[in-house]
Symmetry: C2
Subunit: 349 residues, 2 copies
DNA sequence: CCCGGTGCTGCAAGCGCTTCCAGTCCTGAC
DNA sequence: GTCAGGACTGGAAGCGCTTGCAGCACCGGG
């Protein structure tokens, strides 16, 4: 494993010049640069990460904290972040903290703070004041996606408004008996999203003077299979069957559609279903949904972090210092497909 | 940001003793250790990763190279690896190389070799001889999952045999017109798995003297939606409709089931479907499949890597040096559910 | 009483880079 | 011809830890 010293002696240059040449710094003659590059290539030299980080104070490494990696939304965000970071020559250190709060705690204190991360991107992570302070204290950029991180840059969508919009779509079609599939509060108390979307649903119902039947509020775990099981239970037992379902995620919407089919209900003629998120499966099921491109959000988060690190200043030298919005609302799109229609004629009066 | 020097002076000890005390080394008196720990806690000291890595040569960081992060199999492996690594106090650096070979190349040379990774876990990655040599040259453990990495430890299932088994299951039920959903070779030439499973299917068919109708070989992209579209096309155009489908993944099997329903075909009475992998969705669809627990494979891969790093020797000091199998076949399970049955009676002779 | 161990401890030498600073050479203006 | 200034260059001082080594106190055996 060749070090920079071998490269220097092979190139007939000093270590200092080789370092400057290879890292693209100024004040190196074209000849020296070329000599250094050639020698480096011949020896297969790659600078030691730790040594250069230690010396320069920069890590070229960004941490991503996610509660899960198995769900479409999170893996899409991850994909976007990974893409943008790889392009920028940054490493991505992944912390899949899952549901366990104690794991999250140890990740925060033992890992994140070890000065080895230049920035942290946190997805759907709700942190306590003290935790945020802890993070901000190390003076590294923090970017949040889909979760409130007071004090940090965030990329978010207006979940409550969008949930309201989705519900309104059903109401405007003429539905009055609208069920809502939400998260299971017992599963993960830190996962605030279901509650927010539910508020949007309830606000829309209330605004139109519609009753929110407790039987129509069905909790599942945000997966297709969980929602399928929950929807079956609801459709099988509800004293009055809803004519529409607003699911807090597309996976759950798909689960609801599958359950409906099981009951011989035709979507959308017997049951309208609207989802939320923009899952790839939505098209196959003709799902009406609000699409939010998590991959793009991941990319944006990574770019925001890089910008906060001053990584983009090189491009526009002379211009003003980059202004990074503290709170960016990511665009969404209401995609109307074939899973929503006017409610069926009342069967028996 | 307190350094070890501050801790040392606060504890009234030398830097050396503090270092030994905090990293759990022997030859430190209980008193010194406690003093060091107290001082460290009071100052909120966390050792600099880069400095300690540089000095010790150990990184506590393992790289994971995956072709995708969005598909169930890969995200499950990722989850397992992440879990085991987090428990061991190791960092996980993720390289989502995607389909692009040039990205893979740059990842390998620019990142992996930068001495910052203690080991590499590669999932479904087919490497050239030179690439493997390149990796082995840096003298770091490499663990492969689901892909042949000659020279490296691998964790794998016998895809060809299992595909044959799945096909045989259909044959034994009496099916003779068996379609196969495989990968699209044009999409990713490096993804060898579909070809291997297809060989198993063909071997089973041949062994039973059954014809492999070209119309029944349908290529898709290993997603539900892709398989759905492909299966629809096949079911709509095949001159002679198959009575069973063996899909090279559970996602594709689900896609096939959805397509079948679209054609009014009842699974399993009109069409038997068997998948492969053990996707969580399988239960919801009553899918007969061969289950392979990728999460467990990820955990095992991580543990294997740690073992190769000698990370487990502490537990069993005095015992023999850990022997790591170079090639571990991971157990699988044939799960028979309700998507397979005897073929339908021939409709018109 | 002397001596080899044993158990801790601290000094100091790195780990492999980056970067400050001083120095050299060369240019062009005066 | 002189000199200021710019363009490069190399020496050397770190970055913040780990660890080899030497030193010291203290033990028990001879």
């Amino acid at each position: 494993m060749a070090g920079i010293k071998e490269v220097a002696s092979r190139a007939g240059l000093s270590v200092a010049t080789v370092s400057r040449a290879l890292s693209g710094k100024a004040n190196v003659s074209a000849r020296s640069r070329q000599l250094a590059q050639e020698a480096a290539r011949e020896l297969g030299f790659v600078p030691s990460y730790h040594a250069s980080s230690l010396a320069s104070g920069r890590n070229h490494n960004i941490g991503l904290v996610v509660p899960s990696v198995n769900r479409w939304y999170f893996s899409s965000v991850l994909e976007g972040v990974s893409e943008a970071l790889l392009d920028a020559g940054y490493d991505l250190t992944l912390y899949n903290v899952g549901d366990q709060p104690e794991r999250r705690r140890s990740v925060l204190s033992d890992f994140l703070l070890r000065k080895r991360l230049d920035a942290v991107i946190a997805v759907a992570l709700v942190l306590g004041e003290d935790e945020i302070q802890q993070l901000l204290a190390v003076h590294r950029p923090i970017v949040g996606i889909g979760g409130a991180l007071p004090g940090a840059s965030t990329i978010r969508i207006d979940d409550e408004r969008l949930a309201r919009l989705a519900t309104d779509h059903l109401i405007r079609l003429g539905h009055t008996r609208i069920a809502h599939m939400t998260g299971d509060a017992n599963l993960n108390r830190d996962f605030k999203l279901p509650g927010i979307r539910q508020r949007g649903y309830e606000a829309a119902m209330r605004a139109s003077g519609l009753a929110v039947h407790p039987e129509w509020r069905v909790a599942a775990d945000f997966t297709i299979q969980g929602a399928y099981a929950a929807a079956r239970r609801m459709l099988g037992t509800a004293s009055e069957r809803p004519t529409a379902v607003f699911a807090a995620s597309d996976e759950m919407a798909v689960g609801a559609i599958l359950a409906a089919r099981e009951f011989g209900l035709q979507v959308p003629y017997d049951l309208s279903v609207v989802g939320m998120d923009g899952h790839e499966l939505g098209e196959t099921f003709g799902l009406t949904t609000i699409s939010q491109d998590p991959r793009g959000q991941g990319r944006l988060a990574a770019r925001t972090a890089l910008e906060l690190l001053g990584e983009t200043r090189h491009d526009s030298d002379g211009g003003p210092a980059p202004q990074v919005a503290m709170d960016q609302e990511y665009p969404t799109e209401f995609v109307i497909r074939t899973s929503t229609a006017v409610p069926p004629e009342p069967a028996h009066g």
